[in-house]
Symmetry: none
Subunit: 248 residues, 2 copies
DNA sequence: CAGTGGTCTAGACCACTGT
DNA sequence: CAGTGGTCTAGACCACTGG
């Protein structure tokens, strides 16, 4: 059994949830099986009840565990594919890390173009305004995972801007340029058939179905668009969301 | 200022989160404004820090508040009214009405089959358990819009169940059978190439890309799966979601 | 430096489930 | 009844932010 490391900055509840998640993902706690009780986990890992519950909360939130009052905490079972909750977002590299892979990325150049219509509308640009488009491909364990086209109005950039798009994190570039936090994206979710070009990037057959997120990055007030990106996801990345019912 | 009621079964953290949420929704804590600090809320409502944090956690999770380490908890502001928002759901007919069309629907029969794997896992059924599958097609202005396969465990239905799946609303059928409200769905979002059969239903070319929502219907505790459905959306139906950023 | 959120402990009592 | 998760308290120390 893996033990906790108390000499690291990683919180104990996070470590415990990773241990339990691994037991679920590896099939050692199959779907429908009861987890050790919270008091048992307290004793076994020398943690307080609250810390154990923080760990379980993470697993519940991520869909690995469900709780039954008076009975116990139960495994929902392993996720077969990469999954992620889409009501939140993080940087692409962090995203790939969170779904359990090692992220890398590669730049595929920088273009100055007239803003495509969806970009122009999202960023409230004028007709024929120029934008800079950074093309990057993110890999998970060296397999292509996400193709991103990040757009920025040309006028916001100086004459000798960083042609690499400031490394892997478009969000941080946005924050640097605009001087405000990026707290939200408004994302349109589209299913599309991979074009020849996209299929080559993602190592797919042209025509196969992929998810495209067209994301408008917003400041904390949700009123000011700061940036726009098109993200093309490899089909083995799955998305999940908890939806709540509106009253009729 | 509203106060807490300590003589009710409603948890204190839930009451506090409702109070704060109302202050945000009504504009009394506008977007970007700092909330009272956690210690201030402790004093004002005579609560422990953990209870205050439980309340804030709810607001963070629901997208009303973001947290900044060392600075404070900030209001994100009231929710905008965005059409097609996928973090909420309504019945299909109501959905089509809300996007501005006239909904109709047609039943395409009822099958008793062994539960497919995704259904079995979602509903926590045993191997080879039978489910009943209701196939329906929803039209928007007489154009095919959503193909739905609604599943129910065979054992929950009597011998002479309604072969029509109780009209257009699978949710209401679920509520009738289980005796509990359907408040949530956990939805997997998948891009897929339309099969020959699906293409015929939706009047598409086979192979064209469509969105599939695989939905597990949950009771209010989010712990009990009540039903499962696969919804295939015609490409002219678009989805949008507001995502908030997680702290790294 | 004081004030903030982030983490953690060691208790307590309750409501719910099964025997 | 004993065992479970659900809620709550009253502390503590840490890391981060800003003046």
């Amino acid at each position: 059994m893996i033990n906790l490391n108390r000499d690291t900055v990683v919180p104990l509840y996070h470590q415990l949830s990773e241990i339990l998640k691994e037991l679920i993902q590896s099939g050692q706690i199959p779907a429908g099986t009861k987890l050790p009780s919270e008091r048992e986990l307290m004793d076994r890992y020398h943690l307080s009840r609250n810390t154990v519950r923080q760990a379980i909360d993470l697993l519940v939130h991520d869909g690995f565990v469900y709780q039954d009052h008076g009975k116990g905490n139960y495994s929902i079972g392993p996720f077969l594919n990469i999954q992620y909750r889409i009501d939140t977002f993080v940087e692409h590299s962090e995203f790939l890390r969170r779904v359990g892979s090692t992220p890398t990325y590669k730049n595929f150049g920088t273009d100055e173009i007239v803003a495509p219509e969806e970009v122009r509308k999202a960023l409230r640009l004028g007709e024929n305004e120029l934008v800079v488009c950074f093309t990057k491909l993110f890999f998970a364990n060296n397999e292509p995972a996400i193709l991103t086209l990040d757009y920025l109005p040309r006028k916001l950039l100086g004459d000798n801007y960083d042609r690499t798009g400031s490394g892997d994190a478009y969000i941080r570039l946005l924050e640097e340029i605009n001087g405000r936090m990026v707290k939200f994206t408004l994302s349109d979710i589209v299913a599309m058939n991979a074009t020849q070009e996209i299929a080559e990037y993602l190592n797919l057959t042209p025509g196969s179905s992929i998810l495209l997120f067209q994301e408008t990055f917003l400041d904390p007030s949700k009123n000011v668009p700061l940036g726009f990106a098109s993200n093309y996801y490899h089909p083995n990345i799955h998305f999940r969301i908890l939806r709540h019912r509106l009253n009729p």
